[in-house]
Symmetry: C2
Subunit: 307 residues, 2 copies
């Protein structure tokens, strides 16, 4: 029996770096991207197209995209929170634009100063612009705070359903559910992914989990069990959210790939090469904390890649 294939999308260069108090050099970002590409990663979100004044870390986004596009077979993604950013991303040559839409009204206002409904209008504008200027560029919305919000608290599942439907109506290619603040649990993950899948079908493709409260990988297994086959993660677990204080961020790419491969899911990614790639981060971000359990303990003697 062939192993089921699962896609792992590296988002550390965007979600991991955006909250750091130090700007990573462009050359270090390119080395990081090249190392993950060499390890077998086939989609990387390489940055955000936002005003450099707001986020100096992302000022080199176009340059980083240009480098990433030279790597064979790599899907180069970038985040854009508005029409202007999406235009810049397309001009830079991305294959895919990620648009964050917070389901929590409070989080949306805090993060982008727009309500969820206003963000859906923005998504519609981006989709129309894309149709005219770059029809082969993919657009994915990540529904942030889909499992709860540190400001608003509970996020009704009906709100997630409505926004997922609105995204599809606006013309996006795909939708991801994001546990931006690490509130999700495995039962909730199974329930919400199943419900959204029933509403928008195969356009629901991905899960974005944070390990803030230790449940990140258990939540991945829950989403896998209901048919989700694409997950975001961040090398060494870099990242977090400015509105989710005091906690580790994304699930660690090397831990995720280890879990998937050892469980028999084929990612096409060499786990040992990912562990090696952490050294680039250690060198580029001296003194900054790195997360992830596998690198500390090492691969089991019994480990075999799935493919």
């Amino acid at each position: 029996m062939d192993a089921v294939e699962v896609e792992v999308v590296e988002v550390g260069l965007r979600d991991g770096l955006q909250n750091l108090d130090v700007v990573m050099a462009t050359a270090d970002k390119c080395r990081w991207i090249a190392a993950e590409h060499a390890a077998g990663v086939r989609e990387i979100e390489v940055g955000s197209f936002v005003p450099p004044k707001l986020l100096p870390q992302m000022a080199d986004a176009a340059e980083v995209v240009a480098f990433a596009r030279t790597l064979r077979g790599l899907s180069v993604a970038a985040l854009a929170p508005n029409l202007r950013g999406a235009r810049d991303a397309i001009r830079a040559g991305v294959h895919k634009i990620g648009i964050p839409v917070s389901v929590s009204r409070a989080h949306s206002l805090a993060n982008v100063r727009k309500t969820p409904a206003q963000m859906i209008e923005e998504v519609g504008s981006i989709c129309r612009m894309r149709a005219e200027t770059a029809p082969s560029t993919k657009i994915e919305v990540g529904l942030a705070t889909a499992f709860g919000c540190t400001i608003q608290g509970t996020v009704p599942e009906d709100d997630v359903v409505r926004l997922a439907q609105a995204c599809v109506a606006a013309g996006v290619d795909s939708v991801a559910l994001a546990d931006t603040v690490g509130y999700a649990n495995p039962s909730q993950v199974r329930r919400l992914f199943t419900r959204i899948r029933a509403e928008i079908g195969a356009r629901l493709v991905a899960g974005h989990f944070h390990d803030t409260r230790g449940l990140g990988l258990a939540n991945v297994m829950a989403a896998l069990s209901v048919g989700i086959r694409s997950f975001d993660s961040s090398l060494a677990g870099l990242g977090g959210c400015p509105f989710a204080p005091g906690a580790s961020g994304n699930i660690a790419t090397e831990d995720l790939v280890f879990m998937l491969e050892s469980s028999g899911f084929a990612t096409g990614i060499d786990v040992a090469a990912l562990i090696d790639a952490r050294r680039l981060l250690e060198a580029a971000l001296p003194g900054r904390p790195l997360y992830g359990a596998l690198a500390r303990a090492g691969l089991p003697k019994t480990f075999r890649q799935a493919a």
Copy 2:
């Protein structure tokens, strides 16, 4: 619909303390036990009955058992690796004896200087002694290194099956599968628990997972999905194994209870009280590392206990 009940067994006083380089004062152990009992924990493995020269940490085991027995509704368990220890445990008044049997021959020899077959003989002697002297005392074997071994590497599943059957034939009440060195993955957990359940039925009751490589809680969810309803854990993730160097140990009790309760499984345990109980460890073990994600990030605003 009533929530499914899941038992969480605190093993930090045994598995957590046994590798520490500092002996915890008896009074601190008793405070720890009392705090967990007050939080709702209903089974605690409070120590090991082994020669004090080998493990000074456990020299007060009988005293700690005597204290724990004063707590209403608490099942007091202790580990005993041989007949002599089991006699001492019964004399001290434990409700339950845990016997570790390593499936890996190499690990068994390193740990207790006996082969697995010799350990099964010992288990038989303990069961006969129990029948004569304390028929109401329960006996559970934990099959250590059931998912792989840092010395031997792969542990054949057939070996786990044979030892589980031999334990039942020897007269034990229950069997647990232990991932002593943190090698297990969710697919393997589902497969092995299902297989052993098919062989020995409801006598397979518990899972003991370490979080060495970050998969501890995902492995719990996997075992839950095939009907296992009892799990060992250690407050603040204390613990490890002398033959599994350089890594965090048991899954953290507070993270486990948080995952279970937020997923709708009723443990009867108050998560917030567990987080508070960590302060006892901070005070009793100054400078020693504590693990666990929940205490660092805090409970979600959306959290509700299941029961």
